[in-house]
Structure formats: structure tokens, C-alpha cells
């Protein structure tokens, strides 16, 4: 039985998390086929890349009303495919949108959804391992029901192309039978809020401060260092709760999940809530006065001491080296 995926893309360019989900799904399918649903402008252009990831058939959902994102409409289309294909599982990336769509699809298909899986083994019931507490705890569970839906925890699986690419990828457009209620919730407007700078989620370097920074003003040295490294400033929940920085700067389970090349933490103890937001970081440098702080168990590098002295010292040294 094949595995059906919902794949996300921007103008035909596959989303990174969807590539990870494809790799995951390939493992689950264990040789059986992968079929994919895509929709939106440029959807057919995903075929080539999808083939490299072992997808046999690309179902392109086309409908006049599907111009703007409407979660229930997408789910309706996906449910139609589920009805038609009776897949072993329905898989998608654990992104906001895909998760939402799969949740709706679960209701429509009478299935059960396991969100943020890191592992799954087929069967009836299927066996899954999924994230709790943003990844600080793992849940081993059995997934029952006629339709098994799963989202894949971001960065749990490294995206990898299939060993043998599909030579010919069938592209099958279809028009889902949408109902009026499916379009009640639909994006009516996109408001651009960009300040021109790098976003927290995209920045290659993030310098975060915690309660130890002491005040809103105390973040100035962190801003300086982030600027020198072409990165942005983040913070822990303690900082946003204290009103020192806006929530958009928060890294954490309920903040932004980041995956920079380098994550520098200053005065952050490493509570599970925070660590859930930075698991994707390639390297973590922790600056903390306590050599036994929880964060040290997750850090690659550490500097022990007073951040108010260390952070400016690093900036000064950077400047010196660049000038010299």
C-alpha cells in the first residue's frame, strides 16, 4: 500500500520540511509507492524534484477557489485522495499549515492523527514515536484506525534523495469537490510585516539572552554581537514575559523554532521549554555563569562567567581581528 503525502512548495520549489517528510515516508513505505498531493501556483513543477525523492504519482489539486490558502478545502481534496487510494498512511511535514490540514483531513476521513513523529513503523496499529514538550520528552504510541495520519517533526529526519529515482513521475491533476463551508476560512489578505532585516527563523546566527541579561537595556551588547555576525537577537520566555522584548524575538516551544548555523545563548539556563525551540541549531555556544546549568548538556561549546563581561569582550576581539 502506498503512502500519501501532502507536500508544500513555493512556486514549484519544494519546502525543506516536506523533503524531510518524504524521506520519512519512504522509510515507512518500505518499498511501496509514494504518492503526493500538491496544490497552488507552480504545483506541477514539483514533479522532477519529487521523482528524485521516490514519488511515483503527483496529484495536483486544481480549483478556482484554491487560489488562496483554505485549510478545510485542502483537507477536502486530500480526503478525496484518501478515499480513492486507501493509502497505508497519510504523511506531511510538521509545519503549521500541513499540520492544520492533516488535522482537518483526519476528521474528514475518520482517521487518527499523530503529530510530530520522529519514527514510525507500519502495522495495524502502526507504532509511532512522537514528540512531547516540544521534544524534551518522547511518546511511544500505537496509532489505530482505518486511516493513519502523521506529521513529521521538523529536523527529526535528514532529507535524502531516493536511491533509485522514479524515471517517470505521473502527474495527475484533479478537481476536488469543494463545499461552501470549505471556503469560509480562507486567507483574504497578506500583510507584509517585514522590517527588511533577517527573520529569527531564517538567520544563520542567533544570539539569545535570558533572565541573566537583567533588563531590556542589557541586550545592547547582544545586539552588537549579532550585528557583527550577520545574525539577529533572540530571547527566552522569561524575557518576553518580563516585557523586555517582543514575543517575535522569543525562541522556544511557544516562540520561534530556529535552526541557525550557530546559536549563542547568554544567561539562559536551558529549561526544556527553551531547548524545544533550538533543537535545529547546528552548533550551540552557551555563555553562562554556572558550569552545570542544564544548557551545558546540550551545548557544543561553553564559556563560563559573567555574560555582561564576556559578550562585549567577544565583540571587541572580533573588531580587533577584522581591523588587523
Amino acid at each position: 500500500m502506498s503512502v500519501l503525502l501532502l507536500v508544500e512548495h513555493v512556486q514549484g520549489e519544494l519546502d525543506k520540511l516536506s523533503l524531510q517528510a518524504l524521506t520519512f515516508a519512504r522509510g515507512y513505505a518500505a518499498g511501496d509507492g509514494l504518492e503526493v498531493m500538491v496544490t497552488g501556483p507552480g504545483a506541477p513543477d514539483t514533479a522532477g524534484a519529487l521523482g528524485a525523492h521516490g514519488v511515483g504519482t503527483v496529484h495536483v489539486a486544481e480549483h478556482d477557489a484554491l487560489g488562496a490558502y483554505a485549510p478545510l478545502a485542502w483537507a477536502r481534496a486530500l480526503a478525496e485522495l484518501v478515499e480513492r487510494l486507501a493509502p497505508a498512511a497519510v504523511v506531511a511535514a510538521g509545519s503549521d499549515r500541513a499540520t492544520e490540514v492533516l488535522a482537518h483531513a483526519a476528521v474528514l476521513t475518520g482517521g487518527a492523527l499523530a503529530a510530530n513523529c520522529v519514527r514510525a513503523a507500519p502495522g495495524d496499529p502502526a507504532e509511532v514515536t512522537r514528540l512531547r514538550w516540544g521534544g524534551s520528552l518522547l511518546e511511544e504510541a500505537r496509532l489505530h484506525g482505518p486511516v493513519k495520519l502523521m506529521t513529521v517533526a521538523p529536523h527529526a529526519v535528514a532529507a535524502a534523495a531516493a536511491e533509485a529515482a522514479e524515471p517517470v513521475v505521473a502527474v495527475e491533476p484533479f478537481t476536488p469537490a469543494l463545499q461552501e463551508m470549505d471556503l469560509v476560512v480562507q486567507v483574504s489578505e497578506r500583510v507584509d510585516m517585514s522590517t527588511g532585516g533577517l527573520s529569527l527563523a531564517e538567520a544563520p546566527v542567533v544570539v539569545s539572552g535570558g533572565r541573566g541579561v537583567g533588563s531590556a537595556e542589557g541586550f545592547a551588547p547582544l545586539e552588537e554581537l549579532a550585528g557583527l555576525l550577520g545574525g539577529v537577537v533572540g530571547c527566552s520566555r522569561a524575557v518576553t514575559s518580563a516585557g523586555w522584548r517582543p514575543h517575535t524575538d522569543q525562541v522556544g516551544q511557544t516562540g520561534t523554532k530556529i535552526a541557525p548555523e550557530l546559536y549563542i545563548t547568554c544567561g539562559i539556563s536551558g529549561a526544556t521549554q527553551h531547548m524545544a525551540g533550538c533543537k535545529g541549531a547546528k552548533k550551540l555556544l552557551a555563555i553562562n555563569a554556572d558550569p552545570e546549568a542544564s544548557i551545558m548538556a546540550s551545548a557544543d561549546y561553553a564559556v563560563v562567567g559573567d555574560l555582561t563581561e564576556i559578550v562585549p569582550a567577544i565583540s571587541a576581539e572580533l573588531r580587533r581581528v577584522r581591523e588587523g
Binding site: E100, R132, L229, E261, L318
Partner: protein
């Protein structure tokens, strides 16, 4: 406006999670309890909506008897009354949770308290299933918008909802009655005052006992992920470590 907000009692963990011997729950002997940051914002928003538009608010939870503590905290923020669906079990999944919430909401409707707006956190802090709000919305035949960072009741009675997407926001306009799920950042929740706490002790909390669940996402066990056995490489102590840090930055390629 009649607003119903849903919360879930979860432990306030520190840096290290310890499990009970049966590996089905977190050991909470030394821990306090709270609700997810998403839900805190949901509760605050419910109170603000009623402050702005008039009406009444209710907070509901499925949890052990002790979960009344979380209801009282919501009441101290300004919610008018609470409903406690009492269960000690550790095997409620999103589907079964949504099921008993729908039963309770239908009972409210039958009693003449039909909520115009039902507010959930986008996902609970512990189980993180992302589904309860959506499932409840389906059962009630209402639209559901998730992950909101902006919410306002427009003059025409529609809900203006904003989601953060990349560097912008997507806007949805939906009619009431509706279901929304909230993300932290929607607002900055207030701290309860002492008079509010004292009033909250006297606000009504109804109790019901739902039938036990037969979950389709069936918990087998919890495990604490291994921390990779990593020992951080200590680059130095104090500002004297700056040179070693800059070396590292160059090696990684970010400097």
C-alpha cells in the same frame, strides 16, 4: 459575546524531566502546575473580548480534580465561571478530549449558554497534538482558524484573524460563531491582582465526570531522550575566552 476558553493543566518543568516508574507520566512531586503559554494568551484574550464587547466568559478543562487550580487562575484573570471535567486518567488523546469537550459544550447550549467564540491554545504544552480545537469545530459545524497572533471582533460582527507566515501575516475574516486556536504573542497576559484572586475563590465551578476514553492514539510509554552524551567544550572562563570564541566563529564560518 459569550466566550468559552479551554485550558489544560500541565506541570511547570525545570531543566530535567523525571518520569514516574510506570513511564506514563512525569513525576511531579516537586513541580508546580500551569497551562500552556498559548492558553494563557487565550484566557487573556477572552477576558479582553468580554471587557470590550460585553457578555460573559467560561473556562473549561479536562483534568484531575487538582486542575481546579488552573480554572481558578483563569477566574482570577477575569473569566466568570469554570467547568471542570474530572478525570485522573493518563490516556486521553486529542480525539477523545475533543469528544468530551463537545459533550460539555452541547450541554451548555442546551442550558442556553451557546458560546459565540471558543478559544483553544494552538497545541498543549505537553502532548502537543494540534487537533483538539479543529475537531471540536468540526463537531459543532463551525469554522476554525488556527495559530492566531491577531484577533479582533469587527464592527460587522465578523472575526478578523491574523496568522504569522514568514515575514508577514495572513488575514482571515470569518463569521461567528467560530473556533480559534491561539499562539503565544497574541497579547501580554496580565497578572491577577489580590482582589481578583479573592473574587475568583467565590466564582462558580461546575464539575462533571466524563466516561473514560478509548483512544486511537494509544500511549505505550514515555521516554526521556538521551542528551547525546555531549560534553560541551569549554573555551574558557570570563572575558579572557574571547579569543578562543572568535577562533571558533571563524572556523564555523560565521565570522
Amino acid at each position: 459575546m459569550n466566550v468559552l476558553v479551554c485550558v489544560k493543566r500541565v506541570p511547570l518543568t525545570g531543566g530535567k524531566i523525571v518520569l514516574e516508574p510506570d513511564a506514563r507520566r512525569i513525576e511531579t512531586r516537586h513541580l508546580g502546575f500551569t497551562v500552556s503559554p498559548h492558553e494563557e494568551c487565550g484566557v487573556e484574550e477572552a477576558v479582553r473580548i468580554v471587557e470590550r464587547h460585553g457578555g460573559a466568559s467560561t473556562v473549561i478543562t479536562l483534568g484531575p480534580a487538582e486542575a481546579e487550580e488552573q480554572l481558578r487562575e483563569a477566574l482570577a484573570i477575569g473569566i466568570d465561571r469554570g467547568i471542570l471535567l474530572v478525570s485522573d486518567r493518563d490516556d486521553w488523546d486529542a480525539e477523545t478530549t475533543a469528544g468530551v469537550l463537545v459533550e460539555a459544550i452541547e450541554a451548555e447550549q442546551a442550558a442556553g449558554n451557546d458560546p459565540d467564540l471558543i478559544v483553544f491554545g494552538n497545541e498543549s504544552a505537553d502532548a502537543g497534538n494540534y487537533q483538539v480545537g479543529i475537531r471540536v469545530a468540526h463537531a459543532l459545524g463551525r469554522p476554525c482558524v488556527t495559530g492566531l497572533k491577531g484577533l479582533a471582533v469587527e464592527e460587522d460582527g465578523r472575526l478578523r484573524c491574523e496568522q504569522e507566515v514568514g515575514s508577514g501575516r495572513d488575514v482571515y475574516l470569518v463569521p461567528l460563531p467560530a473556533v480559534v486556536t491561539i499562539k503565544e504573542g497574541l497579547n501580554l497576559p496580565r497578572y491577577p491582582s489580590v482582589p481578583a484572586k479573592l473574587r475568583a475563590r467565590r466564582k462558580p465551578v461546575d464539575r462533571r465526570e466524563p466516561a473514560p476514553p478509548a483512544p486511537r492514539l494509544e500511549l505505550v510509554r514515555l521516554t526521556v531522550p538521551a542528551d547525546g552524551g555531549r560534553a560541551a567544550e569549554v573555551l574558557g572562563e570570563g572575558p579572557a575566552a574571547a579569543a578562543a570564541v572568535v577562533d571558533l566563529l571563524r572556523r564555523i564560518g560565521v565570522a
